[in-house]
Amino acid sequence: MTTDQRARSIGVHLVLIAYSLLAVGPILLVVMNSFKVRSAIFGSPLALPDASTFSLVGYEKVFRSSHILTYYSNSLIVTLVSMALVLLFGAMAAWALTEYRFRGSTALALFLSIGIMVPIRLGSVAILNMMRSAGLNDTLTALILVYVAQGLPMSIFILSEFIQQIPKDLRDAARCDGVPETRIFFEVVAPLLRPAIATVAVFTIVPIWNDLWFPLILTSSDSTHTVTLGVQQFLGQYITDWNSVLAALSMAILPVVVIYVILSRQLIAGLTSGAVK
């Protein structure tokens, strides 16, 4: 390496490190200070908690005065069930649209892609009316149904790209082998779609976990709040109690960060696989 190249390489790393700091700094700051006593939060916000400043008083308060565990479990149920259905129904539809020639398939594909561009939120007025008249108001079922409808178009789009990358001969081989069409999908195609899950997750599942809008308009009781809504309301209530606010924020951040770090390799591989063009 010449000096010139080395200088350039150092420059590149400086920029990347600076931006990385900007990206995680605020998150670290919040999490770090959530473990400190109030005086230390204000006195030395940039310092790590030490023996004299460490405190869990914020977390105690959050556990005591909110139903944070209920929120977690609601979020988990809603996200996991939605994810399973989005993946299952999305992959099935993507398979039919990419594999079978039938009249109206192009029109149907166009119809399904409306949802990629038009936010389902615009239909909120009618959604609320529907859920009320179906008695689903303030239930997790209502959230799940809406999220599945919201996630399907994008997941169909992404999964179609993946299904096309599966060699055509594989399906034809299975047909010659006498495998029924449904089994071709479930036993040959579906197992090969595993790498697609990460991409679908980033574009449809993460937005579900993080959503504020639909919990806000469709759920009204503590027992159906999700983490995002629950924490948002808690924050509004205890706005001046910095320990609690920071703890609540951290509790919303940490599970996501942990899961993200564990799965980041697959997630990023999925994102960069070029399936979204």
């Binding site: 998150i27 916000p45 079978y100 615009l122 009618a126 606010v245 990023i268 960069t272």
Partner: protein, 316 residues
């Protein structure tokens, strides 16, 4: 979506084919139609009605739209929200996407180490909830905590600090930048992926031709990832109309100070659900949603006719 590939259904007996298609497409089409398309259409239909205090609805044609666009009580906040929305969008286009492109360009340089680490870290904010991000920045920028002020002071720019989120002049841009900070990961990743797809030999050929990395980026890589950049722009445009969460969690439904951060999303919410100042009005809310729908449609059409047609995809 490309042409279907298999002719297997063509030979099938009609009933069997219908059964197969119903099995695979039925669930997705049913849920999607019922909970996405139908509500959209029902909302549009509702926008042509009005309801009196007793709850009875009556058809009024386009009167709601006349009110929305003609009555100063409605049109002033509407145009204000639309203008703010456009500013919000412009900040994303001018800040988020160039930063995303630049970082993707740096990450795709040959021989840069720790790529995986940088990517993971830079994408992290995108994974978090907008509510959490908004609130965290709210604290950081708060003069009460003084972290931002302290940081500026440390580099000798202490005098520049102001409670940006609280000032009418800067609140909207500050919120836009918070959103940029969070979502820079999307253009970064998509463009990075597109850059990875460019065959190595093409870059090597350019290097043999004597082009430096800078020129390679601007003359070879950038034109080749233009389709992805245009896709990112569309995603940015649509996301713009989902940006309710951030404003609502940082500024509340009233989008203060003095409605300077009001966007169509918050305007829609206030109209629909009401707030301290007014009662909720579902039919007017439906009208706002309908107008938003047409704005999105207009934006997409402009994009399709003005931009998409001029962009060429190159095969490698």
């Amino acid at each position: 979506m490309p042409e279907p590939v298999s002719n297997i259904t063509v030979q099938m007996p009609r009933a069997k084919r219908a059964g197969l298609l119903l099995f695979f497409l039925g669930p997705a089409v049913a849920i999607y139609s019922l909970f996405s398309i139908y509500p959209l259409l029902a909302t549009m239909a509702l926008s042509t009605y009005t309801s009196d205090p007793s709850g009875a609805r009556s058809f009024v044609g386009l009167a709601n739209f006349e009110t929305l666009l003609g009555d100063a009580l409605w049109s002033k906040p509407f145009w204000n929200a639309l203008r703010n929305n456009l500013i919000f969008f412009a900040v994303h286009m001018c800040v988020q996407n160039p930063i995303g492109i630049a970082l993707a360009g740096l990450l795709s340089l040959p021989g840069v180490r720790l790529k995986g680490f940088y990517r993971t870290v830079m994408f992290l904010p995108t994974m978090l909830s907008v509510v959490i991000v908004g609130f965290s920045w709210n604290l950081i920028l708060s003069p009460l905590w003084g972290v931002a002020a302290g940081a500026l002071k440390a580099v000798g720019l202490g005098s520049l600090f102001a409670p940006w989120l609280g000032l009418e002049s800067s609140a909207l841009v500050t919120l836009s930048l918070i959103s940029v900070w969070q979502f820079v990961g999307i253009p970064l990743m998509l463009i990075y992926a597109a850059l990875l797809n460019i065959p190595e030999e093409l870059i090597d050929a350019a290097r043999v031709d004597g082009l430096g990395q800078f020129r390679i980026f601007f003359h070879i890589k950038l034109p080749l990832v233009l389709p992805t950049i245009s896709l990112v722009s569309v995603l940015t445009f649509v996301a713009n109309f989902n940006a309710f969460d951030l404003i609502y969690s940082v500024k509340g439904a009233l989008a203060g100070p003095n409605f300077t951060t009001d966007i169509l999303g918050t305007f829609f919410y206030r109209t629909f659900f009401g707030n301290q100042l007014q009662l909720g009005n579902p039919t007017m809310g439906a009208a706002v949603a309908t107008v938003m729908f047409f704005i999105i449609l207009l934006g997409l059409c402009l994009y399709l006719f003005l931009v998409q047609r001029r962009i060429r995809r190159y095969a490698f």
